[in-house]
């Protein structure tokens, strides 16, 4: 088990290395560079060329890459020209915001997916199943950004049940009870909007897993033992069906990254997604590369979590 996890973590090092090179090269291909946003148009072009030289922007790409990655490892991700502050400082608060938004979204996703998936799978081809599958098809077909807008309009503006922007009510002291409640309150609507759409994958997945497991031979064995239906479901079918769902968990995180970009933008929620979107529009070079790098690392971590969970719950791939 530990051997497996350690080996799995070691694999991540070359993965992240490759990822960083890719991101760096793509950023190089973008118009402009780390300096272009900082330049005052009235500046003498000779001065600019001098500054370029000084900052090492005329070096070969690998020299620049080494320079960048050295800084990144030490936590120096460069400076945002838009906010005039170090990227690492800028990201910190937003990373925490996005992290909690993702956690709340994941919780809601599973709160919806597990009961719906189980009902749909257990009573497949009944009216309950048809309603649930109908919902999943609508979910598949609805873009998150449209749905989030509609939710914002209905529950944010029309009824006014939820705040429509920000991550916390201004003027509250961080760490107080009111502050935390306000944080959760602000997270709720974006999280629900995102979860209602992303959960359909898991509902469908769980449904088909249950239908599949129901027909397996060991279920007949369980019935032949004289186990009542409730036990057959809880002990035999559910456990075997939830296994792939657990493995799916890590990839759910990857999917969330895409979702938060839209949702944070629409709800004016100051997180990584919003920062990413705005930085691209403004060509805030160092912020974009840093955010993409972090998103990439989150995806790799997601895959790691999937593998570790699967190795924990499935005895067949448990490596001693």
């Amino acid at each position: 088990m530990w051997k497996f996890t350690v080996r799995r973590i070691l694999i991540m090092i070359p993965q992240i290395f490759l990822l960083s090179i890719l991101i760096f090269l793509m950023a190089q291909a973008m118009p402009g560079d780390a300096l272009s946003g900082l330049i005052d148009p009235n500046l003498d072009p000779k001065e600019i060329a001098k500054m370029r030289e000084k900052l090492g922007l005329n070096d070969e790409w690998y020299a620049q890459y080494i320079d960048w990655i050295k800084g990144a490892i030490q936590g120096d991700l460069g400076e945002s020209f838009r906010f005039k502050m170090p990227v690492s400082e800028l990201i910190e608060q937003r990373l925490i915001n996005t992290f909690w938004l993702s956690v709340v979204t994941l919780i809601i996703t599973y709160l919806i997916a597990i009961p719906l998936g189980i009902t749909s799978g257990r009573f497949n081809d009944t009216w309950a199943d048809r309603i649930i599958t109908g919902y999943t098809y609508i979910g598949f077909a609805t873009p998150v950004f449209i749905f989030a807008l509609v939710m914002l309009w209905i529950f944010g503006f029309h009824y006014g049940w939820f705040p429509t922007t920000g991550s916390v009510k201004p003027g509250l002291e961080p760490g107080t009870f009111d502050y935390i409640v306000s944080k959760i309150y602000h997270m709720l609507l974006p999280a629900i909007s995102l979860a209602l759409i992303t959960t359909v994958n898991t509902v469908q997945y769980l449904r088909s897993e249950i239908i599949d497991t129901k027909q397996r031979d060991f279920i007949i064995t369980a019935r032949a033992k004289g186990a009542p239906e409730s036990r057959v479901y809880n002990r035999h079918i559910l456990r075997n069906s939830l296994l792939p769902i657990a493995a799916f968990f890590g990839f759910e995180i990857t999917g969330l990254i895409g979702g938060t970009i839209f949702v944070e933008q629409i709800f004016g929620y100051p997180g990584m997604g919003q920062l990413f979107y705005e930085s691209i529009l403004l060509r805030d070079y160092s912020v974009v590369t840093s955010v993409v790098l972090l998103f990439g690392i989150a995806s790799i971590l997601g895959a790691l979590i999937s593998d570790v969970i699967l190795s924990l719950v499935d005895p067949r791939i448990r490596i001693k």
Partner: protein, 338 residues
């Protein structure tokens, strides 16, 4: 004679395909006695497993007509709660494929322990474990303590079949249904498993229904044999009569298609055609007729019934009296081969 244990009367098990019901088991009446192995033989698709599943009440969406009388209960019309009390306790089943019959995520000990505690609710944990270890010993598993903690994928096919058997015999059922218990195993393991079954029959005084298409297994273990074709029993007799004096064309064809080392054969007999699918099954006349086309249609009954030709020996349809193998064509074929 022997004491009756299970009595099946006019059982008809039908499956729904599109909008019609098709009978996979069609008007089967049969009794199983205590301390007896009744073998049910036939090709694949003859309704053997459908019959076994009907007795265990394991069909989910089938229509079951007739009576399955066991210990004063009619399993064809029984409440799920009562059925669950019988299943695993008074009657149990050994499944065909040991590779898929066990839950991949449960330890062997828990899988056997489950059936034990389902029918003995007030057993303590250690008592339960002791009983499971005893069962593992009984089915010949070499290291019961270790196997107790293992998962199915850590065991070989033969070991898993032993576990499946241990589950079936856990509560010493009086009726044991073995659905092709040896088909997934190689020959040496096969005979060990059959010996084990025989021992269990003696030990528990149980009635065993052995479903198989392996006639060697039948000759070795069975007391009585029922031959099934297309959902019906076509011949039933004790094992000596059936092998010594087979009557129905289907039985004779089956026996004739087994290689025999004593005879100097150049070519094995092949039964023409295949078992018709459920939807295409001829529902009138002799169902085996289409596969012996050289026999004149007047030899068959319009509505074939079982005839008792000697005590305890039943044969369906009258065509048996005029049946012979087409010797000439057989010789032609063998010339062609050699």
């Amino acid at each position: 004679m022997a004491e009756g244990l299970l009595e099946i009367k006019n059982l008809k098990t039908s499956f729904r395909i599109k909008d019609n019901y098709y009978a996979a088991v069609d008007d089967v009446s049969i009794t199983v006695n205590k301390n007896e192995v009744l073998a049910i033989v036939g090709e694949s698709g003859c309704g053997k497993s459908a019959l076994a599943f009907s007795i265990m009440g394991l069909h989910n969406r089938a229509k079951i007509e007739g009576n399955i009388l066991y210990k004063g209960h009619d399993i064809a019309n029984i409440s799920p709660a009562k059925l669950n009390k019988l299943r695993g306790n008074d009657m149990a089943m050994i499944f065909q494929d040991p590779l898929t019959a066990l839950n991949p995520l449960m330890e062997i000990g828990d899988q056997i322990g489950e059936i034990v505690s389902l029918h003995n609710k007030n057993l303590s944990k250690s008592e339960r474990k002791a009983k499971v270890i005893k069962l593992l010993n009984k089915v010949g598993i070499p290291h019961p303590e270790r196997t107790y903690k293992q998962f199915p994928h850590e065991l070989s096919g033969g070991m898993r079949q032993r576990v499946v058997i241990a589950i079936a015999i856990a509560n010493e059922p009086e009726l044991l249904i073995a659905d092709e218990p040896t088909t997934a195993l190689d020959a040496t393991i096969q005979s060990q498993i059959l010996d084990l079954l025989n021992e269990l029959k003696e030990d528990m005084n149980a009635g065993i229904i052995l479903i198989t298409h392996d006639l060697g297994v039948v000759a070795e273990t069975a007391d009585r044999v029922a031959v099934m074709y297309a959902g019906q029993i076509v011949e039933i007799a004790d094992v000596h009569t059936l092998f010594g004096d087979p009557q129905h064309p289907y039985t004779r064809s089956l026996l004739n298609s087994v290689p025999n080392a004593a005879k100097d054969q150049t070519k094995l007999h092949v039964i023409q055609g295949i078992v018709p699918s459920l939807q295409k099954l001829p529902r009138e006349g002799c169902r085996f007729g289409p596969r012996i086309p050289w026999i004149d249609s007047s030899a068959h009954e319009d509505n074939p019934v079982l005839h008792e030709i000697s005590p305890g020996h039943f044969v369906r349809c009258t065509c048996y009296s005029q049946f012979s193998f087409p010797e000439e064509s057989k010789e032609d074929q063998s010339h062609g081969v050699s």
